[in-house]
């Protein structure tokens, strides 16, 4: 039972961490290597907010704001000029990530920060005490996934984004401002990543390089999922399960690379990953 809960909540965590990267990759077709830095920034938003005496809950909207703004600047200054040089875009966003990590180090120092958690304690699930925060994450991931589907299916922005994903030339020919769709998408992706950073704080140590350890897993999950939310959810569940099982029965250190290795093997054998087709 505990194992099942672990699997579900690990999958939820993977989904939350990958979501921002997924949004950006889906529409812009570039891998945002500054993703790790956005996670870190989100976590430090909590640190700052709580030091200022604000409720940790307030850091959620705050992180969205900070992430969105930084995303806008990044899209205009770095991503847009490299639109047709996708491998260079990976490098430039990686470089940006390095810069952000150093700025954070210069501001806050290298030491681990311990912001107060959003929710503490445990609840009983069928008679078994389980971390209430991890259960909260499960709920958050489900809400996030539903929000994704709703935005894509029900809003004008979602429709425009779908149009750009499916056929950018036609979208442009129909008068859709594709560069604005890209900008908004990048902002949204960055905001979601910062939000994920806040949600990570009680589980992960908060230090300037914390984002890196999450980057590769998120990156690989997005690679196997393509542009489908369902595929991403499925990939998080499958590989999350594998990670929990390897960590429990073999070694936690090897568990941390399970996702990356399995995704790489899957892409080699079935290049389309979980995406249909």
């Amino acid at each position: 039972m505990a194992l099942l809960l672990d699997i579900a909540t690990t999958a939820a965590l993977l989904f939350i961490v990958s979501a921002g990267l997924f949004v950006i990759f889906g529409v812009l077709k570039i891998i945002n290597f500054a993703h790790a830095a956005w996670l870190t920034i989100g976590a430090y938003t909590t640190v700052v907010a709580t030091k200022m005496g604000l409720s940790p809950w307030l850091s959620l909207p705050l992180a969205v704001l900070v992430g969105g703004l930084l995303g806008a600047v990044t899209e205009i200054a770095i991503v847009r000029p490299l639109y047709r040089r996708s491998l260079d875009a990976i490098l430039a966003t990686w470089g940006l990530g390095v810069v952000i990590v150093q700025v954070i180090t210069l501001t806050f120092g290298r030491d681990m920060q311990m912001p107060p958690a959003l929710i503490t304690g445990t609840v009983d699930v069928l008679g078994l005490p389980y971390s209430s925060y991890r259960l909260f994450l499960l709920v958050a991931a489900v809400i996030m996934a539903l929000a994704f589907v709703l935005v894509l299916e029900r809003t004008r922005l979602g429709l425009n984004a779908q149009a750009v994903i499916m056929n950018e030339t036609l979208a442009r020919a129909l008068g859709i401002n594709t560069s604005r769709v890209r900008l908004v998408t990048f902002m949204l992706g960055s905001a979601i990543a910062a939000l994920a950073g806040v949600l990570l704080t009680p589980l992960s140590s908060v230090d300037p390089t914390m984002g890196i350890s999450w980057l590769i897993g998120a990156f690989m999950l997005v690679m196997v999922s393509g542009t489908s939310v369902t595929a991403l959810a499925l990939a998080c569940l499958c590989f999350g399960a594998a990670q929990v099982l390897v960590s429990t029965w073999i070694s936690p250190i090897l568990g941390s690379v399970t996702v990356a290795v399995l995704c790489a093997v899957m892409l080699r054998l079935h290049p389309k990953g979980f995406a249909r087709g």
């Binding site: 004008r156 429709l159 425009n160 779908q162 149009a163 499916m166 056929n167 030339t169 036609l170 979208a171 442009r172 020919a173 129909l174 008068g175 859709i176 401002n177």
Partner: protein, 234 residues
Amino acid sequence: MTDDRLVIEALTSGYGETDILQGATLTLRRGEILALMGRNGMGKTTLLKTVMGLIPTRGGRVSLDGVPINGKPPAWLLAQGVGYAPQELPLFQDLSIRDNLRLALRGDRDLATALKIVERNFPFLLERLDQLAGTLSGGEQKMLILSRALMTEPDILLIDEISEGIQPSVVQRIETALKAEREQRGVSILVVEQNLGFALGVADRWAVMKLGQIVDEGACDAASRETVLKHLSI
């Protein structure tokens, strides 16, 4: 006030190293239907894409009612009342008919009005709004493409090979719709065509394109067919 609406002068454009258009000159007049013909690869589609701002202009100019429009993005042209029905990958196959139509409008407020216009020519589309565009037959897809362009009530309409690969009955419906739009609203239409019968049937004037240039043009009459066929060298 002159009757020349869209004036293309010595237009040059292309992809990579190649100039596909090599100084094409053509005028679309108020309220006329003009058929542009020519074999594959001669630059007809490229001409439409260049006018629509989808490919940058390399030389020459395009003007709309005397105002130069070179380099304007598609969104700007659409707002000025220039409609476009493309040929290559012209629909979002995995989206519904409704979403395909919505995407041609800037907001959803005008959707009801726009659907009325669709109903005027091709009412069957309204009964199947939730069907995926990719599941329509070839002819139905062409009617959807045309509806999408007509729905914003453009003054000028550029249509790329709308009759390609469809049955005569559908070609007939399209011809009727185009003629009706012209009668009712005085829209000027440029049709790029390979289907000689359809083109000469619907148009008032024809022009032939060869190797990126307009080599001949004239009014549609009994002799047009033989003249154009000769240009197509068959």
